[in-house]
Symmetry: C2
Subunit: 143 residues, 2 copies
């Protein structure tokens, strides 16, 4: 059995300084910086930025071209206004707007943007998934 656990999300990026500036414009502050890597403490785990070619090498396939799109990282918020504000801040920081926040079929409110390397983020409000006080999420198991 492996645990249902993710302790580190690493984003491969082309230009570490550019990505640092981009996430800095969202208000993110590095928790640790080491040579070639930047770590941010997030809710119970860590998000890292690391060079894309270095990441390919670390994965044991230095000649691979690492691509993006098929994983999304979502930030859930308590209100539509917070979703709108987060989306506007990302676009203002240079994100590519993929989908303007809007009411969606599952009953929530959701938008998507991509960072300078094409990593896709969702900003959402899900009325059925209230956040814990610390911003973490525990799935309701009922219905």
């Amino acid at each position: 059995m492996t645990p249902q656990r993710v302790t580190l999300i690493t984003l491969g990026v082309d230009d570490l300084g550019k990505s640092r500036s981009f996430y800095g414009a969202l208000g993110w502050e590095p928790t640790r910086e080491q040579e070639g890597v930047i770590f941010y403490q997030i809710n119970g785990l860590v998000l890292g930025l690391f060079g894309r070619t270095a990441l390919a090498e670390d994965q044991g396939r230095p000649d691979a071209t690492l691509e993006t799109g098929a994983i999304t990282l979502a930030q859930n918020f308590a209100s539509v206004d917070e979703v709108d504000a987060a989306f506007a801040m990302a676009v203002s920081a240079g994100a590519t707007a993929l989908k303007k926040p809007q009411q969606v079929s599952w009953g929530g409110y959701s938008g998507y943007w991509a960072d300078p390397d094409g990593h896709v983020w969702e900003v959402a409000m899900n009325p059925y998934w209230p956040l814990n006080d610390d911003g973490s999420l525990t799935l309701p198991t009922g219905d």
Copy 2:
């Protein structure tokens, strides 16, 4: 300011049933299943499996081909033996072995595997990053 928060990681997959079986073979149990989507409660956030083409549509770009590789999800463990066991279990379940777990330059022990859709997972032991009792990770801020 946006929070340093990830509440949902969504993996776009080609065959939801196949992915469900793969993660099931790792011991993962769905917390919720709805039409076309499977959610797993993980440490303080949620991991979801969702059809890749449905994800592209949800992202507001139905014609996009969503690719993988440039984001890695890491599972940290307390020991080398646990890393080896997790890697072996993944390969046995049908994962592609990218890098056999080995001692690495930063002083830890790390391997990589890819799931049936090419989503990349790292299994690692980092002696400088002890896990919390609940499997969550709080970065040391010293040195």
